[in-house]
């Protein structure tokens, strides 16, 4: 029983975590990994499909946090 509650807590935490990671990933995509000196002002080109995915990610996550 307490285990169910623990899972509820974990799911809520994961939801917020997912929301914040969703916020943080796109800027990282632009910068890219491996070598800070390679950063250009415009950033690396981002795949269109990926962009769309992240836009949707925001919508889903925002919806889910509001309902909680």
């Amino acid at each position: 029983m307490a285990r169910t509650y623990l899972w509820i807590v974990i799911i809520i935490v994961m939801a917020f975590l997912g929301f914040m990671i969703g916020y943080a990933v796109p800027p990282f995509m632009e910068v890219g990994f491996g070598g800070g000196e390679q950063i250009e002002s415009g950033g690396a080109p981002v795949d269109e499909e990926l962009k769309k995915e992240f836009e949707q990610l925001y919508q889903i996550e925002e919806g889910s946090t509001e309902s909680e």
Binding site: I12, F19, I21, A24, P27, F28, F33, G35, G36, I39
Partner: protein
């Protein structure tokens, strides 16, 4: 899991509900609050992990020296290596939030003071936070003691200025700090500007001719050379001194001779001896790296380098430092925010000016605790630990006894001094730094080990004495 009273489950949900509410409502005010929420939810996770694994840095070497239990040393090393691994990813991008600390003997001296303090207090800085979440009044006293000691210590001047060596004073004056800081007044100011800032800032990657912000430097230099190898050496030492003897005895009881394979098994047995601690270490390591990643991503997104800019944009300018910054490490930290809320309270209520020292006035500021990102982290850490304790039926309000209250205050005092001298506690000065390949973290760690040894020696003597009194009426030969 045993049956848990309904009251406990309800309270657990109330606590989580409160944090959810804070997050949703603040996000409704402005998108920028995501930044504070990141601190909040990672703090919550740290609290859950710490409580679940009874993760206390204080007990690591203390329990090893006092009762020969290695589980916490192991847990901490697991967490450190994993945290090192996750942050190597972030470091390789060159966007890490981490700034290495100056490396010199001061870290070890601070570590000794901190180590003594944490044995006396019965918990380190992070351990006291999570134990407060278990309802432990002693731990709350420890936090109060650390907080007040720090805030006072960074601001004391007057007579203490006489204790400042002349070279420090001269060197501090040359740092070109603004007039408002009044650098020649305050022991810590001159210690920082006149001594600590002059020490070299090192990373293992750079020491071995690599660069931290490359894959090679982050993974080989910082992680492998700076974290994995020292951690293995440390664990090997623990095995050889504390674990081997018992393990060999067990095997010899079975009438076998001990082979190299047995030692490997013994070593592995030591690693997994406390599942709880190891699991907590695993999740802690991952969460710590993720936090760096998230905070850095948010900084890039909002185009800021420090939360002070966000607070300013939101219209909260009280307590920003002379550079417009607030304390915003971007990773797990414990002690600075504790000093900050005391600083804020004392300045607001008693009119004590805290902004004329480097610690508050130049670097960290004293923002309203209600909008201080790092304070959100600490409060949520207590909350996360409370939720975990409630759901495992381990929550219990405990009033401190007089004896323990005295230990708590003395211990908190030593930890407060130690953490200001080292610019961090067992988390900020040891755990985070070592995981990032900063040698000053290991220097602090060595000090902590030494301090723990001294603290244990004292408590052994104290306990002997008390036991002797209790047993006096019984027929023991003492």
């Amino acid at each position: 899991m045993e049956t848990v009273p309904k009251k406990n489950r309800t309270w657990a949900l109330v606590i989580v509900g409160f944090f959810v509410l804070v997050s949703v409502i603040s996000f409704g005010f402005h998108e920028y609050y995501v930044y504070l929420q990141a601190y909040l939810w990672f703090g919550f996770i740290y609290g859950m992990c710490l409580q679940y694994g009874r993760f206390c840095f204080a007990s690591a070497f203390r329990d090893l020296f006092a009762v020969g239990v290695p589980r916490m040393v192991v847990g901490i090393m697991i967490a450190t290596v994993l945290f090192g691994f996750t942050s190597a990813f972030v470091n390789a991008t060159g966007w890490s939030t981490f700034h290495a600390a100056p490396t010199s003997i001061h870290a070890t001296i601070a570590g000794i003071l901190f180590g003594i303090g944490m044995v006396f207090a019965g918990g380190c800085a992070s351990g006291s936070l999570y134990k407060t979440g278990e309802g432990n009044g002693v731990s709350l006293l420890v936090i109060l003691s650390i907080s007040v000691t720090q805030a006072t210590f960074v601001d004391v001047g007057g007579w203490f200025n006489k204790l400042v060596p002349e070279p420090w004073r001269l060197s501090a004056m040359q740092k070109g700090l603004p007039e408002s800081i009044n650098v020649t007044d305050g022991w810590i100011d001159q210690y920082l500007a006149g001594y600590v800032w002059n020490q070299p800032v090192l990373r293992f990657a750079e020491m071995f001719g690599m660069k931290t912000d490359t894959v090679m430097g982050a993974f080989v230099g910082n992680l492998f050379i700076g974290v994995v190898i020292p951690a293995l050496i440390l664990l090997l030492w623990v095995y050889l001194v504390w674990v081997k003897k018992n393990h060999v005895r067990k095997i010899e009881k079975q009438g076998r001779t001990v082979t190299f394979r047995d030692h490997l098994e013994g070593f592995w047995g030591m690693i997994v001896s406390s599942k709880r601690t190891a699991i907590a270490g695993l999740f802690l390591g991952i969460a710590c790296g993720l936090q760096m990643f998230v905070i850095e991503g948010l900084r890039m997104k909002f185009g800021v380098k420090n939360a002070g800019t966000l607070l300013e944009r939101l219209g909260f300018t009280y307590g920003l430092s002379a550079k417009g910054t607030v304390f915003d490490p971007g990773y797990w930290y414990v002690t600075t925010q504790e000093a900050q809320w005391v600083g804020w309270t004392m300045q607001k209520i008693f009119g004590w000016n805290f902004m004329d020292n480097i610690f508050f006035g130049w670097v960290n500021g004293i923002p309203n605790p209600a909008f201080n990102p790092a304070d959100w982290m600490s409060v949520a850490l207590i909350g996360g630990a409370a939720v975990m304790a409630l759901l495992h039926n381990e929550f219990k309000f405990k009033k401190p006894t007089k004896e323990l209250a005295i230990w708590a205050i003395i211990g908190g005092f030593f930890m407060g001094i130690g953490s200001r001298l080292a610019l961090g506690c067992n988390v900020g000065a040891f755990f985070v730094r070592t995981a990032q390949g900063d040698p000053s973290g290991w220097l602090f760690g060595l000090g902590m080990i030494g301090g723990a040894y001294i603290g244990v020696k004292f408590f052994n003597w104290w306990t002997e004495r008390k036991m002797a009194k209790e047993m006096a009426g019984l027929e023991f030969e003492l």
